[in-house]
């Protein structure tokens, strides 16, 4: 990205004052190196978001931002319904409520390492991954609607997962305001056999070791102990979310002129929050959030079943479950006044700081856990929402490394079997249905996640708590 048009506010904050159709400034967070490495499209997309009706304060791009659909991935924007604000299907994305959860196990690396191959096989057999694999659970129409209204609470009531998990999930496991009737028959049809499936692309289930602790007090509150094993799951709302995203993007793009909205880019498709279409989308999107929460709860349940069988001594507990493609009604301080606004986080994680009432009590003093997925080779991070995140980015932080290389280029440069062998030498066991899929997800195709989280810390969005490295990676 050409930074000459940006004003550098501090070491990790860059600003573009409103120009042309922009209603608010664009603010980019990242070190000079990360911002320079971003595609020019990130600035163009952030400027476009800044021009949407009813946007408040600023349009934000986070240190992992890259070129997305309408909104940049790694983008945050909030809209005021009282000021003609909009909700954007593109601003949430196709994989609604895609997210990450991490489970602590109390197991030491030394207990798991000798049987890691067997564990990889057992997890790969228990959790359906990739295209064409269906789940064990087939839902009737009534059950589907109950799942869409109940989220992870529904899953727990069906015997998948434990009641104690719910406290450790955003919205306590159930997103209010879901409207199953706003979800099309086609979207439900796509989900009928997909509950408890991981999907593909960058989705994964990993057995990881807590390799390094940077904030001992926060780590203690989170139950993270150096050398111990955690399970991390990255996936979303599967076919249901994809279908809802597809249908509403089309409908919002075609209806924009009737709503008096001029779209600089069709993918920015949006509708006024106070319109029938906007409300219908919110109902459907919230149902998709519940679908993702239920799905991660079920996959977690399948994984815990495997661990319990192999390690009866394991003491498993959900650390936290975050979603990174959402639009949520939240209260934030804007120009000294508290206001209810609709915060879009596209490839961005909610990151409430210490003391926030929505953070579960045992974690509250430390701040909300922010779980960051890295690539297969580089490891992942646990951060804590910073006290300054509220003022900086509507309490949002990064979500992952972000791609540095296209899938196209990755398959030209890498071979899946060579990557699997190289990772094996480095102590990471990979199970995946497709070697081409592995090549597309080559560690070198991603930005340096360590640099991304360091920049998020410098920008005051979240602070680093612990670094996790994979031992087993089940790749979708």
């Amino acid at each position: 990205m050409d930074t000459s048009r940006l004003t550098r506010v501090d070491e990790a904050t860059w600003r573009l004052e409103p120009e042309g159709a922009m209603r608010v400034p664009a603010i980019l967070y990242g070190t000079e190196e990360l911002v320079r490495a971003m595609d020019d499209k990130v600035l163009e997309q952030t400027r476009n978001v800044a021009s949407l009706p009813g946007i408040v304060k600023a349009a934000y791009a986070l240190p992992d931002a890259h070129w997305g659909y309408g909104f940049p991935i790694g983008g945050v924007a909030a809209f005021d319904p009282d000021a003609g604000g909009v909700v954007s299907a593109g601003g949430v994305g196709f994989d609604i409520s895609c997210g990450v959860r991490t489970i602590t196990t109390g197991l030491d690396r030394s207990e798991v390492e000798p049987v890691a191959e067997k564990l990889a096989d057992a997890l790969y057999a228990a959790v359906p991954v990739g295209l064409g694999r269906t789940g064990q659970i087939k839902l009737s129409n009534t059950e589907l609607d109950a799942m869409l209204e109940g989220g992870a609470r529904w899953a727990v009531s069906m015997g998948f997962g434990e009641p104690a998990d719910l406290e450790r999930i955003e919205e306590k496991g159930r997103m209010e305001g879901a409207d199953p009737a706003a979800v099309s028959r086609k979207a439900k049809e796509r989900q009928r056999a997909e509950m408890g499936t991981l999907g593909s692309g960058n989705h994964y289930l990993e057995i990881q070791e807590v390799a390094e602790i940077l904030d001992p007090a926060a780590a203690r509150a989170y139950g993270l102990v150096g050398g111990q094993i955690v399970v991390t799951i990255h996936c979303g709302s599967r076919g249901l979310g994809h279908q809802i995203g597809t249908e509403f993007l089309r409908e919002m793009a075609l209806a924009a002129p009737a709503h008096g909205i001029e779209l600089p880019d069709r993918e920015l498709a949006c509708a006024p929050l106070r319109s029938a279409l906007g409300q219908r989308y919110l109902g459907a999107m919230r149902a998709a959030i519940n679908c993702a929460l239920a799905n991660r709860e079920i996959i977690d349940h399948l994984a815990r079943g495997v661990l319990r069988r192999m390690f009866p001594q394991a003491r498993m507990a959900l650390l936290f479950d975050v979603s990174h493609n959402t639009c949520k009604l939240e209260r934030h301080r804007i120009d000294g006044e508290e206001k209810a606004v609709f915060v879009h986080r596209k490839g961005a994680t909610r990151a409430f700081g210490p003391g926030h009432p929505d953070v579960p009590e045992p974690l509250r003093a430390v701040g909300q856990p922010v779980l960051i997925g890295g690539s297969m080779g580089t490891g992942s991070w646990v951060l804590a929402g910073a006290a300054t995140s509220e003022e900086k980015s509507f309490a949002s932080a990064v979500h992952g490394a972000g791609r540095a290389m296209s899938r196209h280029e990755a398959t030209r440069q890498y071979r899946g079997d060579q990557i699997v062998a190289e990772l094996r030498r480095r102590g990471v066991i990979v199970r995946a249905p497709s070697m081409r899929g592995v090549a597309e997800e080559a560690p070198a195709a991603y930005k340096d996640v360590d640099a991304v989280v360091a920049a998020a810390e410098r920008a005051g969005l979240a602070r680093r708590v612990a670094h996790l490295v994979p031992i087993v990676c089940i790749k979708g």
Binding site: G68, Y69, G239, H242, L249, G402
Partner: protein, 141 residues
């Protein structure tokens, strides 16, 4: 010289673009569908065992292309099928097509990824300099 029927992929940030080219608009749409299949598997490994009828309507050719590819993704997801060959008929804002394919066999097809949806990014339906047609968009994987 007439535009030869063929497909290509083009890079896009985190995802991938699909492009169909051909002497007619119908050919370009059919080739775009092959490009979509090729994101997931080698389309030549998909046997044309079973026909599935697809019907869409849209106010403009670009939206029709996105609808067509998304209709195929819906059939892939719900019938657990892959499609390798396509007959496309276009007229008056409508598309009527037959997609030929077979049930997904993970062991034989080795699907690389699942496609979440066809998008409106880099969306273009246009005549080519060679007198043929091009139909393209980015797909989210």
């Amino acid at each position: 010289m007439a535009e030869a029927a063929r497909f290509e992929h083009f890079p896009h940030g985190a995802d991938i673009g699909v492009r169909g080219l051909g002497p007619t608009l119908e050919d370009a749409f059919a080739q775009a569908a092959r490009a979509l299949t090729a994101v997931m598997v080698d389309p030549d490994t998909v046997r044309p065992v079973e026909p599935v009828a697809i019907d869409c309507a849209a106010p403009d050719p670009e939206t029709l292309l996105v609808d067509w590819l998304n209709a195929l993704l819906f059939e892939t997801a719900t019938r657990h099928m892959l499609f390798g060959s396509f007959e496309v008929r276009l007229g008056d804002g409508r598309l009527e097509a037959t997609a030929w394919g077979e049930p997904i066999d993970p062991a034989r097809h080795r699907p690389a990824v699942e496609v979440k949806g066809a998008t409106m990014t880099a969306l273009e339906v246009a005549p080519t300099a060679e007198g043929g047609w091009l139909a393209q968009c980015v797909v989210d994987v």
